[in-house]
């Protein structure tokens, strides 16, 4: 199952992913439309010691937000692995239990009057989530976690090899 993986060191904090996310969740799917309607992005670039750190939903194996949901709206799709409170028979009531439960702070109240929690839905209608497709620095990738881990190991190994003067 593919997941959105983050290469924090590649992120330069340009916020293109946040804008692309907002646009993807706007009625007319444009950045202008999102800004006009006040649609927020569903991932966050946090500044830590002057460095940008992308924070987004991990679509956990046993999601705390799903356990906390007292309407049944927040569900994890067994097929896709997507965790979302939208598009189900049960609807969100804005009780904020999921916000209290999420260890990543990836669920937030919707802006404006509507009482509803919003979070990453991993763009179910797209092959690649909007944030990943938009990132100009390749800091986000939509890949199998195993591939991500393998790639990480390889890059560490390469770095060590270079340090030791061994041709990679």
């Amino acid at each position: 199952m593919k997941e959105i993986m983050v290469y924090t060191e590649r992120c330069n904090g340009c916020l293109t992913c946040v804008l692309a996310c907002a646009a993807a969740h706007a009625e007319d799917k444009t950045i202008v439309g999102a800004m006009a309607a006040g649609v927020p992005g569903r991932l966050f670039i946090q500044a830590v010691n002057g460095r940008p750190v992308p924070v987004l939903c991990r679509h956990c194996e046993e999601p705390a937000c799903v356990a906390a949901c007292m309407t049944g709206a927040m569900q994890k799709d067994p097929e896709t692995g997507i965790v979302t409170n939208e598009g189900h028979e049960q609807t969100c009531v804005g009780c904020w239990m999921c916000i209290m439960a999420c260890p990543y702070g990836a669920v937030v109240p919707a802006p404006g009057k509507e009482k509803m929690a919003i979070k990453c839905d991993r763009c179910p209608d797209r092959d690649v989530p909007a944030c990943v497709a938009a990132c100009p620095n390749l800091a986000l990738a939509f890949i199998e976690p195993e591939d991500f881990a393998r790639e990480r190991q390889k890059s560490v190994a390469t770095a060590l090899a270079v340090e030791a003067g061994v041709p990679a």
Binding site: F44, Q46, A47, V48, N49, R51, V53, P54, V55, E62, A64, A67, A68, M70, T71, G72, E89, Q90, T91, V93, G94, C95, W96, M97, C98, I99, M100, A101, C102, P103, Y104, G105, A106, V107, V108, P109, K113, K115
Partner: protein
Amino acid sequence: MTAYVIVGNSAAGISAAETIRRLDPEGDITIVDVEKTPAYSRCLLPNYLGGTRSEDALRIRPRDFYQKLRLNTCFGYRVARVDVGEKVARLDNGARLKYDRLFISTGSSTFMPPVPGITGEGVYGLRTLEDAKKILAQAGQARRAVIIGGGFVGLEAAWALYRRGLEVTVVEKMPQILPQQFDACAAAILLREMQAEGIRFILGTGIKEIAAPGLWEKLTGKAGRGVILENGDRLKAELVIVATGTRANTGLVEGTGVKVNLGIVVDKYQSTGMEGVYAGGDVAETEDVVSGRIGLTPIWPNAVAQGRVAGYNMAGIPREYGGMIGMQNAVEFRDVPAIAVGLAQADGDGYEILKEYRPEHNLYKKIVLKDDIIVGLILVGDIRQAGVYSALMRKKAKVTRLKHRLLRPDFGYGQVLSA
């Protein structure tokens, strides 16, 4: 084939059933409940009362849930007694359900304080859909409502009835609302909001009696009861809601050897110690990770977590419960959200308190630390990072290096990741 019997068709019971079905596709699972409705959310009853949620929208699972998971349902029957020796649950109609594994998630009931008149008509608890329907029927012909108890249930009921157009008075024995969860400062913000809306509060006094309509009132055709307070005042109301707390429904294991304190005592595996008998949810006592205290934790997320742990163990896969915080609550009135987690009121020696209070913005943040570990949290107005703080609390993480950042508006998981 293993026979599983689950007593209680709510958060814990449903969670256990789903877990068992996932792990044991062949198992014979039966859910028993006194209530006849498919599983619904009690937390949403105030929304139903207030008219913002229909009865159908209270269901927590799709219509075909029981068929799809092949769960036998036995609704409308009470388990009168459990025979732990024979491994049989006896229903109140005399039927016997044989089990290999039994999960008790019978929840709790409204506690009616022992004052005269409390059992009279026009006086209700708010715990079940049936309660809510009775209240609604009465609300149609009522002008004034008195809510006894200023906790979550009381305030949400007050808010709902107020939205229905009733004159609502809340009576709370303690000097502040939400005395179990919030400190005086947070309670004052929420109180001010509800008062500004038009709900009346009488704090610091309990009730002495609920008086039936007097002879004169009956003769003149004026309905209504009097709620007599400890300070002698008499409030008039056609509708009284009692929300002073709950008691665990442990009757079915009385005299069986299953240990009961305030609730059913279970170990880390949600087992009662009797062979094949497990318990979870509001009816069971578990350990709070922050205080280390064993007690009832009548909140939704913990019921779901306990049901899941019980489900694993009942299906033969050992799994421990732990690391959950007993006290976590979220509430919102008039667009001011509020969250309290853990020892939010802790004060005095050994505790360090970080605070930010901006009354003009209805903003209040308080973090209680002990030895640089977060043990309590209150967020009013801005609740966005509540889960990040709670996770630090659950993990008992030392936040020494993060401390100066905790209250900053840009605090988030990124900081935790990089600390």
